[in-house]
Symmetry: C2
Subunit: 416 residues, 2 copies
């Protein structure tokens, strides 16, 4: 079973908006065994939409469109689809009622004709009622093929996908299960990893695909397959995973889940063992703390952090001694270690991680080369630091430093 | 002049990675007057890549590909492009030297054959040297048409786009200048703003386009035009800007530049007047500090911040009194104000901003409704706070809170 996603809107083609819809839809479809052949983004242009629909129909069983359903003149998806199906637009009274209700509840004043006309739908379509907005979703059966048109507003689209599209697709098609298992691996490069597990990879069953997903110092290794017997599938994937883990036993830190990555593994473990975390940042400037606080539930284990950006604040807020700074420089292992130890105490925590470095583009208060970052870990029993050279691209240095800090934290927490 | 973007990688089609590359590339091309006909995302699949290349070549002048250039077996873009051009792969010694240098500097150990082989490039291509990674960019001229293959890693791709691709495209094609000027406007809604500046907008020259770009509580107003005489273009755009600014004199805070937005205006002003900033965050958890520290030069004005996530740390680290917390709750104006005042002193700064709120999805230690955020500003002469209700989507609440904090900070700093 194969699907295609077509995202429609000028804003996508001028780079003003990043297309997050297609990743969401792809993930949802993948979960029910539908793979995505292609994602195509096109402008609000009649000919181009018609051409893209035709090509998609010739390649795929399921075509999902988002965008171009608004009330203004540039939104032409609905009438273009009607044209594609030689169909006419008819008023849907329930949709009109929904529009009137939304208008009354959130906007007020006289309902405009353009908004009333959002209740016009192709006569051959089944309406997917959009309680969150005035543009309805539409479902079209064309024999074995299915076309679905959804609004481009992400939360309206995602709600319609979950409420209607996925259940209806599961009902219409005999969907296989798709199984992905993603291993989080640290401390080994892509090529070295590939060499290490080459024999295992070569011996994988034909239906299993392995992907290497390197990203700024961390690596994800994803094993995928699909089939109709979910239990058997899981057993087969787990059996392969069991063979590879011994080959990477020092580098493997856990399975990545839906929500996130290393920080989620750390968060779950800290919550489970009832321990707490403090963070002291210099060069990473809040980015490390944000990895944890962007997920809900951080208050269960994250006591807090400091961003001691200036040298003065390292002394006054964190109590790093002038002597240590003067004799080792502000970008140094001893300073990172003092930051970690002192933040551990300041926030009365079980673990602390600290960063100090020079992210560039120029040398700062210290003489450290651009890209030099020291990361320290403190626990109640020990404190230590490592030095890294993370290149000369500022944003890259910061993100690599965060990944290195998460790696060291993972190692420390699971050691205990 | 028309371009097409092809992003390659299984991870895009299963929704594991959101394609941010195509928006970046589209924006860069738009700036030099090249519009995007289509963005297509496909799997690492030989036939599909060949088919997509062929279709793109028939529609567009410029085809930019990203992804599939890694050293592992699933990365097949390079050999597929070579096949498309009936070309063979040859060793590029400079690329090999770059790979060896990167390996020695950042990885160490024996250079693997798969990485050495990343220096194999199609003989008809011009190498775009990638100093940040082992996969080189490649440029192909096919008569008037251009094909460019770039690595999928965003930082590597963006650096190659800026360093090589854009300058080379400008040289090859007669690209017009596209001029955008973006005004940052706070404290007025889209419709009210449109009504206020309606006469000015109606009187704009035919070639100028105005766009309203509302985003999570801030508004950007973008005036665009294009032409071949850069100096004249700039004069004409500036003349229109001079007319509109008096109409929004209380809401206009500056021009957004390439690098960033409100935080850049704040950074420049603080640096200019020699004043410093401290930040105390609860719900925003480091995200606000990161807005400043992600840009270079922050050490000139940013003394530091605290992320007092737990109630205990608000007391112990920031010295917010138990009485204030007990009588007003931890999510309250008085607590936000105490956080701001105390961080001002702790970091010996001229301005401080503080956030405390509940970003959801569930109620936390306080009884505050999900989405309630208090933001406080402290200067040497005063401290005050505002209450906001920012909805019930966690990431949205956090980003809206950051935008509100930047707005309040802008107002405070420019008041002085």
């Amino acid at each position: 079973m194969q699907a295609e996603i077509i995202t429609i809107g000028d804003e996508l083609l001028i780079g003003q908006v990043i297309d997050t819809n297609s990743a969401f839809i792809a993930k949802q479809l993948n979960k029910i065994g539908i793979s995505i052949y292609q994602v195509t983004s096109v402008q609000d242009d009649r000919n181009h939409i018609l051409k893209t629909l035709k090509e998609a129909e010739s390649n795929s069983d399921i075509i999902i469109l988002t965008g171009g359903l608004g009330p203004t003149k540039d939104d032409i998806t609905k009438k273009t689809i009607a044209e594609y199906f030689n169909d006419t637009l008819v008023r849907d009274d329930l949709v009109l009622k929904n529009i009137e209700h939304l208008w009354k509840s959130y906007i007020g004043g006289k309902l405009l004709q353009v908004n009333k006309d959002q209740s016009l739908v192709p006569s051959k379509s089944t309406v997917l009622m959009n309680k969150l907005g005035t543009a309805p979703g539409m479902w079209f059966d064309k024999g074995e093929k299915t076309f679905v048109s959804l609004p481009g507003v992400p939360y309206e689209m995602s709600t319609l996908m979950e409420q209607y599209v996925i259940p209806k697709l599961k009902e219409k098609y005999n969907c296989p299960f798709i199984m992905h298992k993603t291993l989080l691996v640290y401390g080994i490069g892509e090529s070295a990893l590939a060499a290490r597990i080459e024999d295992w990879e070569d011996a994988l069953p034909k239906d299993m695909r392995l992907a290497y997903l390197p990203n700024l110092g961390k690596m994800r290794l994803r094993l995928s397959t699909k089939g109709f017997d979910e239990i058997k599938l899981k057993e087969r994937v787990d059996a392969e995973i069991e063979k590879v883990i011994p080959l990477i036993k020092n580098e493997f830190f856990g399975f990545e889940d839906e929500e996130g990555s290393a920080e989620i593994i750390i968060a779950k473990q800290l919550t489970k063992i009832g321990k707490t975390l403090a963070i002291a940042e210099s060069c990473t400037g809040g980015l490390l703390a944000e990895q944890f606080t962007k997920h809900s539930g951080a208050s269960a284990y994250f006591n807090g952090g400091v961003v001691t950006y200036s040298t003065e604040s390292k002394k006054s807020v964190l109590g790093v001694s002038k002597e240590v700074i003067d004799s080792h420089s502000v970008v140094s292992g001893p300073v990172a270690e003092a930051m970690a130890s002192n933040s551990l105490k300041l926030f009365d925590s079980d673990f602390a991680v600290a960063t100090t470095g020079n992210a560039g583009p120029t040398k700062g208060e210290s003489d450290a080369e651009v890209g030099t970052v020291y990361i320290a870990i403190a626990s109640k029993s020990r404190v230590y630091s490592e030095k890294f050279n993370l290149g000369n691209h500022r944003i890259k240095v910061l993100n690599k430093a965060v990944n290195k800090a998460l790696e060291m934290l993972l190692k420390e927490i699971f050691k205990n």
